[in-house]
Structure formats: C-alpha cells, structure tokens
C-alpha cells in the first residue's frame, strides 16, 4: 500500500519529470496563461537566444492588466500601455500562441477566461505571470503565479524547477449564513491565519461549506489563497466542477469526456493523508467581512469597530496597525459601518463573474447610488460575462442605479489603466488587495463582497448586508 497522499502530493507526483535534490523537482506545466505586463521581457530573452516556444498550444494569451475599460474602439491612448499590448500581439503571432484580442468577446481577465473556456481543468498544473493564478485551484488544478523569468522557462521548456510545498488544509464546516459569501469566508480565513499563514504551503479548502459553493464562489476562495501567503489553493473536483466544465471550448469532447471524468474523480486527498497544518472554521460563525487596514489580514466583521493599536500585544503588528490607520485616516473605536466611501468598484478576478454581478444587482434593483458616492463602477470579468449579464438585463439595473457599466479588464484592481481611485478617496472594492496605493497613489481601499459593495454604494457607507433589504426594502 502506498502511503496516503494529499491532492497536492498526487498532482505533484503526476507531473514530476525528474527529481532534483533536497525536495525539489522538475515539474511539467500543462497550461500557461500569458498577459501583456509580465511577458514582454520573457519573449525578448528567448528571441535573443533563438530559443523557440516549446508548445504554443499549451498557452493562451490575453491583454487585461493595462487596457482601458471605456472607449476601446478609439484604441489605447496611453503610449506605454499600447506598446505592451502591441508587443504581446506581435509575440503571440510570431510564436503561434492562441490569443484573444482586445475586441474579441472572449477577452477578459486571465483568471476569468481560463475557466470560462474550459482551459482550466482538474489535475492540471497551471501557471501565469500573475499571483492570483491560485484562482484556478478551484477546479482541483495546481495553479500558481510566477515571475517573468519563470514565464520564460515555461515557454522554452514547459517545465519549472520547484521546491515541494508543505500541505495545509483549511476545513470550513457547517453552512454559511444568509448574506455571507465565499469572499467573506476567504477574508475570515486570512484574518485567522494572517497574510503569511500559508507561506510555503499549498492550502486545500475542504468541508461542507466549501463543497456547497458554486464554481464561481470556489474561484473567489482560491483566488484569495495568495493573500494568505499560499502560492496555490486547491479544492477537490466534484460533480459541481464537472457540470461547470462540460461543453466548454477546451473541455474534453464526447468520447473523451468519460475518460476525463474517470481520471478527475481520483483527484482528492486520501482519507488518512497527513497535512502539515490544519485549520478549522465554523461557517455559521462567519459574518460579512470588511478590511480596515492596508493588508488583507487587517479585516473584521462589519459589526466590529476600528481596532485600537494600543491593545495589540505584538509590536510589529501594533506598529503596522498604527501606520495603516494613519494611511486610512480612521480613528480607533469607530464602528466600521460608519465609514463613508466615495468610490465603489465591483470587478477583478476575485469578484467579476456572473454570480457576483447578479448578487450586486439584486441589492441595487430599484435603488440609487448615494449622492455622496462620486463614482461607482462595474467591470465584468470578461466579454462573455458582460454579454450574459446584458442578456439578463443586469446592465440596466446597474445603469439605472447610477453605476458605470464598463468593458472587461483588471481596471481599478491595480489601477494600471486610467481607472484610479483619487488620492485620499475611499473605495469599497470587491478586489483582493488593500495595499497602500494599490488602487491609485493615496487611494484607500476596503475589501468586501459584491453584495456589500452594492449596499455601500446605496447608503454611502460600509453597510451590513444582512438586514439591509429589510430596512430599506422596496
């Protein structure tokens, strides 16, 4: 009998091309998502050395990080951004890598389009020059972000030399209360284990509350694994996964589908498998979360108050909290639900899928964005998400409420394109990072779920979504 293994151990083992010393190995990479910001230097170096791309069909390229979300027909006015997109287009043409151009309906954020196209599949190794590649772990794939030198290595060899990570399991038992989403679950986990709680580990998410999640919600959860320091998050594939994948463009077709299901069904941790670290959470105890500081572990339930740094025992954490409060311009003891916002952003690879837009639209139907909110925008994750939302009439709901309805891209998640939160302004955002200046120099970010972001847009301040409908309902 082989010793019991975790899901991560199995995927690692299945992709080991050759063992190296000291727990490292050369790992085969099945899928590679490529975007405009982290790839040009990799293509350039290969071209200079005359090294070809090994398997262009194992890659999929798209521009998402720096492109504008309005007026695309006029082209990109930012010269540097345009150069990056042109360069990507030239590089993929030259190397035969499949590419969705900016005006293609399949264009969108890398981590939204991979799953949408069925490019993301259980048991695969998937990389991208973007840390939120952990998103694809929702399908039981070992997916992780890489730097540009690794992009180059994968293009040239379809492999990476990796050090095997440790195994961690986060089990969420029970049922999530009404109004509490995968985003709240993710933030609550990060609040519990910290931004480096998962460093050096692959986190497998398990338990009833995780199994009950839709694919979209699982992606939200795995997306945030990196915010807990784990390069990858994983969820064992099941019926929900298979149902999502059936019939998508890259999915196995009839005849091979059964073969795939047989293979994919073996992808779970053995019952006796040992994890280096186990964390348990009770779903019923999770309340809607909002961040108050400048990293995702500085998070609390919306019913809480801005913490007082003086009460934090650890010196490093205390000083970090002091700096965060100064930057965020918040006073200790203030109820989180009284924090006023001027900007609302619904989008990013964390929360820009159809379910996220539906959840936000449900809150906004028949309501208006508060006068005190100067900008509220929705940026769908892909052209296909946008189209589906429009078919369902969600665009009307957003527009009627006073939201802007944009074209897909990363947008205000990292503010590389013109979508920025102005200095000193405060944004309720469904993205994943509340770092200093992340949404634009001097911007202040509060991370939350799509429904909570919509509620904040209506009231003009952070708002507990539970009971919101009852209080202000039509």
């Amino acid at each position: 009998m082989p010793s019991p293994r975790t899901l991560y151990d199995k995927i690692w083992h299945n992709h080991l091309v050759s063992d190296a010393e000291s727990g490292s190995g050369l790992i085969y990479i099945d899928r590679h998502l490529v975007h405009e910001v982290t790839s040009p230097q990799a293509f350039e170096k290969l071209a200079n050395q005359g090294i070809p791309v090994r398997r262009p069909e194992a890659a999929l390229a798209v521009a998402d990080h720096n492109i504008p979300t309005v007026g695309r027909a006029e082209g990109i006015t930012d010269e540097l951004a345009r150069l990056q997109v042109d360069m990507l287009r030239r590089n993929v043409m030259r190397t035969n890598i499949p590419y969705y151009d900016v005006d293609d309906v399949r264009q969108g954020i890398v981590h939204v389009i991979g799953p949408e196209q069925g490019f993301t599949q259980p048991g695969l190794t998937i990389v991208c020059g973007d840390s939120h590649t952990s998103t694809h772990g929702a399908f039981g794939a070992l997916a992780f972000g890489i730097g540009t030198s690794e992009v180059e290595h994968v293009l040239a060899t379809q492999t990476l030399t990796l050090k095997k990570a440790k195994n961690m399991r986060v089990t969420v038992s029970g049922t999530l209360p009404l109004g509490v989403t995968a985003k709240d679950m993710a933030l609550a986990i990060i609040g519990e284990i910290g931004t480096n709680g998962g460093t050096g580990h692959v986190i497998e998410f398990a338990g009833e509350a995780v199994e009950a999640l839709s694919m979209e919600a699982r992606m939200t959860l795995c997306n945030m694994a990196i915010e807990a320091g784990a390069r990858s998050g994983l969820i064992a594939p099941d019926e929900t996964t298979f149902r999502y994948l059936q019939g998508r463009p890259f999915s196995p077709k009839a005849g091979q589908w059964e073969q795939a299901i047989t293979l994919w069904s073996q992808l779970s941790s053995d019952p006796e498998a040992k994890f280096d670290r186990e964390v348990h959470l009770e779903a019923s105890q999770i309340a809607p979360q909002v961040t108050w500081g400048t990293n995702p572990e500085q998070v609390l339930a919306i019913t809480g108050h801005v913490p007082d740094p003086a009460t934090i025992a650890d010196k490093g954490k205390r000083e970090a909290a002091e700096r965060a409060l100064a930057y965020m311009d918040l006073t200790p003891g203030m109820p989180l639900s009284e924090i006023a916002v001027s900007h609302v952003f619904i989008g990013s690879c964390t929360n820009s899928r159809i379910e996220d837009l539906r959840a936000a639209a449900d809150v906004l139907r028949g309501r208006k964005v508060a006068d005190s909110v100067t900008q509220a925008m929705v940026v769908p994750g892909s052209g296909l998400v946008k189209m589906m939302a429009e078919d369902e009439g969600l665009d009307r709901v957003f527009l009627d409420a006073g939201f802007e309805w944009r074209d897909p891209g990363c947008s205000m998640c990292l503010a590389m394109n013109p979508d920025k939160v102005p200095p000193g302004a405060r944004c309720a955002s469904t993205s994943n990072r509340n770092f200093v200046g992340r949404q634009g120099p001097g911007s202040r970010t509060h991370l939350l779920s799509p429904a909570m972001a919509a509620a904040a847009a209506v009231t003009g301040h952070l708002t507990d979504i539970r009971g919101f409908s009852a209080v202000e309902g039509e």
Binding site: V17, Y28, T133, G147, T148, H153, T161, T199
Partner: protein, 203 residues
C-alpha cells in the same frame, strides 16, 4: 545571470513586516517592456513626496546608503503581486542581497532568478544586522560559506537550497540548463500524457 560569491557592503535597514511588491515597485512603473531602469521606481511611494520631490527622511534617499547593496527587512518580505519588476528594481538600484525574517515564495524565486541572494534569519539576528547598518558598519556575506559576518567578528550562518546556491555561485542560466539536461525526459513525459489525456494535445 551574474555569479554571486562574496559581498561586502553597509546594509540599508528597513525593518518592516509585510513589505509588498506594490510598495517595492508601484503599478505605475510596470508599463515597460524592458528589465532596465526600474531602480527609479523602487519604493517610489516612500521615496517621493506628493509633489514628486525626494523625501529626505526616507532611508532610501539617505546618502550614507546610496551605494548599499544589502537590504534588511522584516517578516514576509515581497508578499503580494508576482511582478518580477520588484527584483529588477532592486538590482537596478544596486541591491543584490536581501536579508529578512522571511520571504514570500514568488518573490524569493524571482529574486534568485535575477542573481539576488535572499537570506532568511531569525528576528534577533535581523535586528542586529539592521543596527550595524544604522551605525554605518558593513557586513560580509559569503555564499560559499553561507555566512554573514559582522565587523566585530560575529558570524551568523544561513541556509539555502542546494540548487539555488549552485546556480547563484556559478551564475548559471536555468533555461539553458533545463534544455541541456532534461529535454529527453520532458519529451517522454509528453508522450505518456498524450495517451492519458489526448484532449490536452488538440491543436
């Protein structure tokens, strides 16, 4: 990649936890197709004031650390975005060694690929090394011996994965190495996978 053997320099003390790559190099500097010149954006949000003039209070603007090649920081250095620009910016500004309590995984890998030696040491030792920088004393980092030496003769030892150590010591290029040593094994893997999961090989 340049080989890394032995380095002597006054270290720059910057002991904060969770220094993220957005802080190391803000997104505004990522719109480049080159690896060069990113030093200008290194810690830009800290180095420059709102009116874009250098903040003299910022450690990275202090003349005494201008030629420093070693950076000292706290826990979880380099967390966040996978941008290798963070490593390029450090190298461009002259930093080829970072000593911290711990490193985020992606950053550590990016750093290594650009010839930056990352050394993880316990908090008390990191604090001590930062104090050396503050006092204007230099450190000697020896990768062969895996030691950090202080002027008073104190020596701290560190650990590093064998593969990374060999590559750094010899300035080896990984892409070339993999092609040279593993091309056959990679092809064999692909042949096997093609039988098991043929749909992954559809053109």
């Amino acid at each position: 990649m340049n080989a890394f053997r032995r380095l002597q320099s006054i270290p720059t003390p910057f002991c904060h936890d969770n220094i993220d790559t957005d802080a190391i190099i803000p997104a505004a500097y990522l719109k480049t197709v080159s690896r060069e010149g990113l030093g200008e954006g290194l810690f830009a949000n800290l180095r420059y004031r709102d009116d874009k003039t250098p903040d003299p209070q910022c450690v990275f603007n202090e003349p005494r650390f201008e030629s420093s090649r070693i950076l000292i920081s706290g826990d979880n250095f380099g967390c966040g975005s996978s941008r290798e620009h963070a490593a390029w910016a450090l190298v461009d500004r002259g930093y080829i060694c970072v000593i911290a309590e711990s490193f985020a995984d992606i950053f550590a890998s990016n750093a290594f690929k650009n010839g930056i030696l990352t050394i993880a040491l316990p908090k008390d030792q990191v604090t001590r090394l930062a104090a050396e920088g503050e006092a204007g004393r230099s450190l000697v980092v020896d990768l062969q011996e895996m030691t950090v030496g202080l002027e008073d003769g104190t020596v701290f030892t560190f650990d590093l994965d064998d593969f990374r150590r060999t590559c750094l010591l010899n300035g080896l290029d990984e892409v070339g190495l993999t092609i040279k040593h593993h091309a056959k094994a990679i092809s064999a893997f692909e042949e096997r996978q093609k039988l098991e999961q043929p749909w992954l090989y559809r053109q």
